[in-house]
Symmetry: C2
Subunit: 223 residues, 2 copies
DNA sequence: TAGATTGTTAATCGATTAACAATC
DNA sequence: TAGATTGTTAATCGATTAACAATC
């Protein structure tokens, strides 16, 4: 075994699937039972064959001339990501971003739950936000181990990110969702997903700049 | 003119440049004056030729055997994105995410400033966060026009996103940074940058799932 | 049946990676 | 000078797009 998974799913596909999911949920709410890629493609401005390939990764089978069962599609995407079993996570850094993440109700839809938060500011330690208690940072590593938590969210200032990551990894965390605009070095076997708001903002502003320079262009940037 | 810019800069490059920028600023703080792509590549786990190509878009010239002047590189990236002139923006939706964005001090580094916020909840209208006043949503369109604001940030619940986008566009906004997990339809000439936290989260959790199934794999996911 | 849509295979496109001459 | 690094051109790789047979 070389370590790589047998079947690699393209990351663009992984990023589009949650989008289909939100769209399909809205469709179902409006009472639609069946949908074709042609139809989805019109609404989402994507090419039908691409949608077909993306959806095929979830194991769905469509019916020629008809399309897919909306409810079945939703179920398949949920199963594909495993959103039915909850992933529990610790969050470090109860600043504005951290608070926003703690307070965000929408994550439960994606099988994700922040079960405790950590900070070293005595102002927030002991407080509770959205039923999530803030504990002293010193307890992070031991609690990771004791509670068998495998996912960590970093929402600290950038200078603290590496140190927090090290504590998480020492506690057995193997997946880090990093909101700090800093480079994190990790050993093999740890997955880091960087959420860099500056990147998205920069892309938007640069495209705007280019648009202003070159006359109107039509464009939709997808995440 | 077909509307497309003559020189297309790859979006992956646009997303990596702010990363180089943060890294280079940290280097400069530590007193480093010159850096080579080999060196950057080691720290950021990227291939040196790719870094060289990315940096070339900013117009930098390096010196063989030596590398690049760190300060000059930083300057070039700032000029490339136009971070020296501030882009002013309106934000709609003063929930947790909206508050986090309003409060975030780091955007000024990227030439971005939220100058007013809008909501239709009388609880928050009239309040001020981080010197940003919350105004009634009904004033959005007219103020966009009057203050000549061209960028809008949507941080509303998903069901309100389209309506807010329409109001923004009516006011002349041509760039929308969308944090609502909803599809926004816009006319030509409007750029939408979707910031989809669920996508990043899903990618992380899916990779973790695959890692657990197939034994340890080493992986670093970059945004 | 005719026509729309799926599923799959092939072609294209664009970004990354490799190769290498130029240069300090 | 020798060797490391830049800048540039070519090759590779992977994702998107196009083509088309199968099918309801």
């Amino acid at each position: 075994m070389n370590g790589k998974p047998d079947y690699i799913i393209p990351e663009p596909t992984l990023r589009r699937l949650p989008r289909y999911y939100n769209y399909l949920k809205a469709l179902l709410n409006r009472g639609r039972e069946v949908v074709s890629c042609t139809h989805i493609g019109k609404d989402l401005e994507l090419d039908p064959p691409q949608i077909r390939k993306d959806l095929a990764y979830t194991g769905i089978r469509g019916v020629p001339k008809v399309g897919y069962q909306v409810a079945e599609l939703i179920k398949n995407i949920e199963d594909f990501f495993g959103w039915n079993n909850i992933d529990e996570a610790f969050l470090v850094g109860v600043g504005n971003m951290g608070r926003a993440l703690i307070d965000y109700k929408g994550f439960s839809r994606y099988g994700f739950k922040i079960i405790a938060a950590f900070d070293n500011d005595s102002e927030v330690i002991g407080k509770t936000f959205n039923d999530v208690e803030v504990l002293p940072l010193s307890k992070l590593t031991s609690l990771c181990q004791r509670m068998n938590v495998h996912i960590g969210v970093i929402a600290t200032p950038d200078h603290a990110a590496q140190e927090v990551a090290d504590m998480m990894i020492a506690g057995g965390i193997i997946g880090i969702w990093n909101f700090a605009p800093a480079e994190i070095r990790t050993p093999e076997g740890v997955i880091v997903q960087n959420e860099n708001l500056a990147a998205g903002l920069s892309v938007l502003c640069k495209k705007l700049q280019m648009l202003k320079q070159s006359g109107k262009i039509r464009q939709e940037v997808r995440e």
